[in-house]
Amino acid sequence: VTRDLTEASRRYAAAAAAEARYDALEWPHFERFLAALRALERKADQLAPTQPVHNLLTRLRFVRRILRSAPLPANHDFLGLDSVLGLDSREIPESFGAEVDTCIAAVEALLETPEHPALGFLAERIFGSPDRSVNALVIRQAVDPVARLFAERGWSANVVDLTGAKRADLTDVALILGSPEFHAHWNLGFSEAARSVAWLLNSPMGMTTQVVSWPGNFPFDPDNYVAWTGASRREIPVRGATRFTVDIDRASELDKGNGGLPDLPDETGGEIEPVPATAVRLVDSQWIFFSDDYGPSPYYVDFDDFEAVVREAKYLREVVPGMVLLVRDGEASRSFLDEEARQWILERHNQKRYERCTNLRAEFRQLMRDLGMRPDGVTRLRNAGISEADAQRRLRLANDPTHIAPQKREDFETLCGVIGLSCSDDTWSDITLLRTAARQAGHTARKALEEAVRADDKWQALVDIPSTARITIPHAGTVALVPVLEVLGEKRNVPISRLGQLETAGGTR
């Protein structure tokens, strides 16, 4: 992006004077495909689909998603529609037979005349004048194949997703392929989605904005794209339909999975009392549990004006549907943090001091665990002036792998008094050092995560669907980026060791 005053001035000039046009195209074969797929989806809502039907649905939904918003020929390799024709009909249960047959017939018809109608429109109306600069907006998943297709046809355009569009230098033509709302966050309702992308028409990326629509797109209403109530909007000449026969519910594209809450066996064999935790439903039939009192805090990806940033949710109330959580493989995460903390201490002190700190922590935790095993453990803590609830919490924390020791010295000394650990200034100094090192390690880990999510933004195409993406961080294992579908209001009892871990409906990672 060019960030200078000249470009700024051009952008504002475009916002003041740019023209916008809307053209809707016809595509009967795709309309037939959409109707057939919809009938299959309805059937799958009534009867649980078998795996082959589920696979077929996934493929057809993918094709629908791409062809609704990107001008690719239906026989493009990226879509893989040929595989549908090779489906073995014996794998399809009879109850789905009619709907599947209709879908396959629709796919055959689509493949007979595969050219996307938008391509003819673009050849004639946009790329007929080769001197014009063009920004073309398509959904993130389709950026690469569309850019390749345009290049093959000798069309010069800067093909971008929504993030790229924000950064793009102003061009003569801004092409919006498909509904503007396709580019909004999947978690928004239609009206909010329209508002979130309204800037495409009121702060455009080209002097002429051309919206091209076709069956499968959402209804188009120019009034949706004003900056705010009362702000001026220019006339948008409309040609063709602004509403199509098959209206697709945005929510129907979400695969919420069919699994209920996972079953989480207690790996300690019941020695440790589980803790109340909030269940968070994630995409792809996954779950994760968090507690404000125990275990790790959720990390999530957010965006400032231009870049992805990794933030920590200090409280669970910050976790909301639509958020993308970053979840690391538990063991790799822990060893990475431990190693970072060790290095931090070694840089300032020595191995002996490090060992003293870790031995102290281990001893403290072991003595607390021993206390927890005693029938009078809670009573002993209560006799030392600790409330029952706090006593229970302290005993559980001894089993929390992320926990070090109480934050306040007086609380630590009280516990030491009960478990028979001597607490000198040196002891407290070691605890403080360990905690500082852990905090620094957490900071380093967050920065490493941030670098990794910025280094390659391919994950964005997956979480946009929404689906799970994975990235690998050197020396720190794999991180899953998982969109949140729902945060359950009711708490569940969960073994402390399972907090912050990805779980599937079967209870496995």
Binding site: D4, A16, S196, S232, D304
Partner: protein
């Protein structure tokens, strides 16, 4: 520039410095630019002197000449404050403005904006410089700063405005720059739908170049955690 304590005297137009009995200035008070600082402002904020180059430039400005001290002090006591993320970036933009579009600025503004003391983001130096550049959170732990009154506050994004302490620089006019291309634009639009627009007779600027302007009044809490609802007052933004 320096913080000074004054005491009242019985003589008209005479100002006495506290701590210096008998030390009086026989001056028309309005010739001495002064501004009351809020309670609990740190007692020793030091002082600020001006770079000799800028001093020379100010001396040569029409109307400044021998009064440049006073003119400069008036600007410092009524600063323009920029609030936004990325203070270094904002400081760079200031330099870019001076270098690339000098014609946008008059001689006086150019001289005042040239001051690069590296202290203009230090809240303790407020009222010592003609402009300040702060992060949105600057007032969260500094009640005395919140009570200061700049001439104008320019907030560089809607999200920065939402993160500012609700009473930061209350009473000063604010300009909030909302970028239509970012997520918070929707929140800004919602907010504008909810707040009362200024009276119909108030002129709403209609700038060119695709900039949309909305002026509004906004309830601002007076700065105290113990406030009751009755203590709210309305302030124009």
């Amino acid at each position: 520039m320096r913080d000074t304590e004054f005491t009242s005297t019985t003589r008209v137009n005479v100002v006495a410095f506290a701590g210096f009995p008998g030390h009086k200035l026989d001056l028309t008070i309005n010739r001495i630019p002064v501004r009351e600082i809020p309670d609990d402002t740190p007692p020793d904020r030091g002082g600020a002197s001006l770079d000799s180059d800028i001093e020379d430039r100010l001396r040569n400005l029409p109307g400044y000449a021998n009064l440049w001290h006073a003119q400069y002090a008036r600007q410092c006591l009524s600063p323009v404050v920029i609030v936004g993320d990325g203070r270094e970036y904002l400081q760079n933009q200031r330099e870019e403005l001076i270098e690339d579009v000098p014609l946008w600025l008059g001689d006086e503004q150019r001289a005042l904006l040239s001051e690069d003391s590296h202290q203009t983001s230090n809240p303790e130096r407020t009222y010592f410089h003609p402009f300040m550049v702060f992060s949105p959170q600057v007032g969260n732990t500094l009640p005395w700063l919140r009570a200061m009154k700049p001439r104008l506050v320019i907030v560089t994004s809607w999200s920065a405005h939402r993160r500012m302490h609700p009473s930061l620089f209350a009473g000063a006019p604010h300009i909030i720059l909302a970028n239509r291309r970012v997520k918070s634009a929707v929140a800004a639009a919602d907010f504008l739908d909810q707040v009362k627009a200024r009276g119909a007779d108030a002129p709403v600027p209609t700038p060119p170049h695709g900039i949309f302007v909305r002026t509004f009044e906004h309830q601002v809490l007076v700065d105290s955690a113990e406030l009751s609802d009755d203590d709210e007052w309305s302030d124009e933004l």
